[in-house]
């Protein structure tokens, strides 16, 4: 739907902005409906996200996870695929990180970090490879297969955490706490080294990894042959085939990269913050990746911005619950759903009139 040639600022900023505004207005109405002031709520939300360095640290910590899951959905989109399996792939990524951290304990984090990243990539990619392969060779739709693989990942993790990896003497399904080698340095510890005192937050060096990965994804998509071929398949499979590109391998590659990106979320959560594998640690972030990718127009830069937006919503939303007792962070889930609705499913509502306005303007200029 990009053929109407809208100026870039309209395509990438105005339309997502209007969609976001619509989502926020409806969410505001829900707040009014609950008998609270939306302005007070908005203030508390922003205060909760930016109020202190500690809170901002949390915001960026959530942003990190959203960048990974958002990029995962975006890469698959570029190949014309819908990866709803981010949740399951992130779970598996966390499992990969955990196995590395438990297997090589007693070493040090600079050694474990690259290994854990590889573990997350390998396990996340493993979980998206089969849906990709089945799509490429047997035409099984990735939407359905990735949903099934989400459940399979949850069941597998449940089995491993209840029966195998559970910490001895522990009731809740989680592993033992990793030793020091399995702890990535926190931002507040690193900044203290430079003499900067910030509040404690789970923000860790994975944030830098996320930014670097976003850059790499951009390079891959627009500066490599494979990225080009992948996007060609996504634009039009017959055209790509005519141009000598074999769609099958591209589909598998897109899914594998997508799964690997979602898996990287495990590094941030497991090694960066919780230092153990806890059942349900993905907490819907995999699904939120859909909203992030739609909001960010599937562009890595846009994804980073959208991830920051969702980081603000998520952190601000959990602070909101403290400020206003009738609120829970469920309101943020509502906003998430509305963003997906307006930026994704209903985007044509505003796009069509805007396209028409620009067409009329062009016609007037030609006269």
């Amino acid at each position: 739907m990009k053929d109407e040639a809208l100026p870039a600022w309209v395509e990438y900023f105005a339309i997502p902005g209007i969609n976001l505004l619509m989502a926020l207005i409806i969410a505001g109405l829900v707040v009014v409906f609950m008998g609270e002031s939306p302005w007070v709520a908005l203030g508390a939300l922003l205060g909760g996200a930016f109020g202190s360095l500690e809170q901002f640290g949390y915001t960026l910590f959530y942003t990190t996870s959203f960048i990974f899951t958002g990029l995962a959905v975006a890469v698959a989109f570029h190949c014309g695929l819908f990866n709803i399996g981010g949740e399951g792939q992130a779970m598996m990524g966390g499992l990969g990180v955990t196995l590395v951290c438990l297997g090589y304990d007693g070493t040090s984090w600079p050694l474990l970090f690259p290994l854990a990243v590889m573990g997350a990539i390998a396990f996340g990619a493993l979980w998206s490879f089969l849906p990709g392969y089945l799509q490429a060779t047997r035409g099984s739709h990735t939407v359905i297969t990735t949903i099934m693989f989400n459940f399979l990942a949850a069941i597998l993790l449940n089995y491993l955490l209840v029966e195998v990896l559970i910490a001895p003497g522990q009731q809740s399904p989680q592993t033992i706490r990793f030793d020091e080698a399995g702890h990535l340095p926190f931002a507040h510890d690193l900044l203290r080294g430079f003499g900067l005192e910030t509040g404690r937050s789970p923000l860790n060096i994975t944030f830098l990894l996320a930014l670097a990965v976003a850059g790499l994804v951009w390079l891959f998509l627009w500066r490599t042959r494979w990225g080009y071929e992948m996007r060609a398949v996504g634009q039009s499979e017959p055209a790509a085939r005519y141009g000598g590109i074999s769609p099958g391998p591209m589909i598998v590659m897109a899914m594998v990269i997508s799964g690997a990106l979602a898996g990287l979320m495990g590094v941030n959560e497991v090694m960066g913050s919780q230092h153990r594998l806890v059942l349900g640690f993905t907490a819907g972030f995999g699904f939120a990746g859909i909203a992030v990718a739609l909001m960010g127009r599937n562009h890595p830069f846009g994804v980073v911005l959208a991830a920051l937006l969702f980081g603000v919503l998520y952190q601000g939303g959990s602070e909101l619950a403290f400020e206003i007792p009738t609120f829970t962070s469920d309101v943020v889930v509502v906003i998430q759903g509305l963003v997906i609705l307006f930026c994704g499913a209903l985007e044509n509502i505003f796009r069509k009139p805007i396209v028409r306005i620009f067409e009329i303007r062009r016609l007037l200029r030609e006269l």
């Binding site: 089995y159 699904f287 009738t326 509502v334 509305l338 609705l341």
Partner: protein, 324 residues
């Protein structure tokens, strides 16, 4: 022997209980996809129905008013889906996902605002719930060998929504295969251009299909919160909408095979509850997760075309745009 019989009967009984909402939701998905609209929002609409039913039942004390509220709310979300996908040619998967996530957040939010309870609605009692009831003669006939216990344990004793579901199975099957609407519905999912050429509105048919879809999801939701449980709890649909989607694919978009798939998945669920912590002679204890995973693995295998082939209606998922 008698003990084994009772065990088997109780398993069948449990299977029916689990299968009923699955059948309703799977049929909802089937009607939508037969008309060419992919619906992964079954989960969300069920959850919305569950919340509406529990809320209305808690406020009015009537389970029937709850059921009506569930159907209306679920239809409203189905119309939203149709508005996005049919009127505005929006992405159907995105729209379904939006509904799922929106409802997952909206239910607990409204529950707190209206009832002050964290993510749930008040406990329902008496007429605010659909309780199981004995069919006439269940106690008298019990003495009969085999047929007696079968009647008492399996056929009698369910709540009214289970019987409603059983009654709806032939109704939906006839609707799809034996009525003019059904013929058009199937045609519009396969070849909307042909239907359009015949002078029938594609959009109108798809809206109608989504209305049926919403009503069925609503009943399924009411089943969860006012029959199976006594109130709404956060995320109470717990993946049943997706499981119904799997059952629909497993049933190849056909009514009877879809019902059988629902029964199979429900049986797997009843079995894994039964087998928890039970050692089977010669095999040992089977991890319950292995049985839990079964429906999902089976669906992937079927989708991959290794056992039979699941072929979706040809035009499902593709917005219909008139050639000009």
């Amino acid at each position: 022997m008698a003990e084994a019989l009772i065990f088997v009967l109780l398993m069948i009984d449990a299977t029916i209980r689990v299968a009923a909402p699955l059948v309703l939701a799977a049929f909802a998905g089937m009607v939508a996809e037969r008309s060419g609209v992919i619906d992964i929002g079954l989960e969300g609409k069920m959850l919305a129905g569950a919340f509406a039913a529990a809320t209305a039942a808690a406020m009015t004390g009537s389970a029937w008013l709850g059921l009506i509220a569930a159907i209306l709310v679920s239809i409203a979300f189905a119309m939203l889906h149709a508005y996005a996908c049919v009127t505005h040619n929006g992405n159907q998967v995105v729209s379904g996902m939006a509904i799922n996530i929106l409802v997952a957040g909206l239910g607990p939010t409204l529950a707190i605002a209206w009832f002050g309870l964290a993510g749930q609605t008040p406990n329902l009692e008496g007429p605010a719930r659909f309780a199981g009831f004995a069919l006439p003669g269940a106690d008298v006939l019990e003495a009969l060998p085999l047929a007696g216990p079968l009647y008492k344990e399996v056929i009698s004793g369910h709540n009214i929504l289970v019987y409603l579901t059983v009654a709806l199975i032939p109704v939906v099957a006839v609707l799809i295969y034996k009525t003019r609407f059904g013929l058009r519905l199937r045609a519009v999912g396969e070849n909307p251009h042909a239907v359009d050429t015949a002078g029938i509105s594609v959009a109108q048919l798809r809206y109608l299909a989504m209305a049926v879809n919403g009503a069925l999801c609503g009943i399924a939701g009411a089943y969860l919160s006012t029959a199976a449980a006594a109130g709404f709890v956060r995320d109470m649909s717990a993946g049943k909408g997706y499981l119904a989607l799997a059952a629909m694919i497993f049933g190849k978009w056909k009514p009877v095979p879809t019902v059988l798939a629902c029964l199979l998945f429900a049986f797997a669920d009843a079995l894994q509850i039964r087998l928890q912590g039970v050692a089977i002679p010669g095999i040992g204890e089977i991890p319950v997760q292995a049985i839990q995973a079964l429906p999902y693995i089976l669906t992937v295998v079927l989708l991959a075309g290794f056992v039979g082939k699941a072929v979706a209606p040809k035009s499902s998922g593709i917005p219909y745009v008139k050639d000009r």
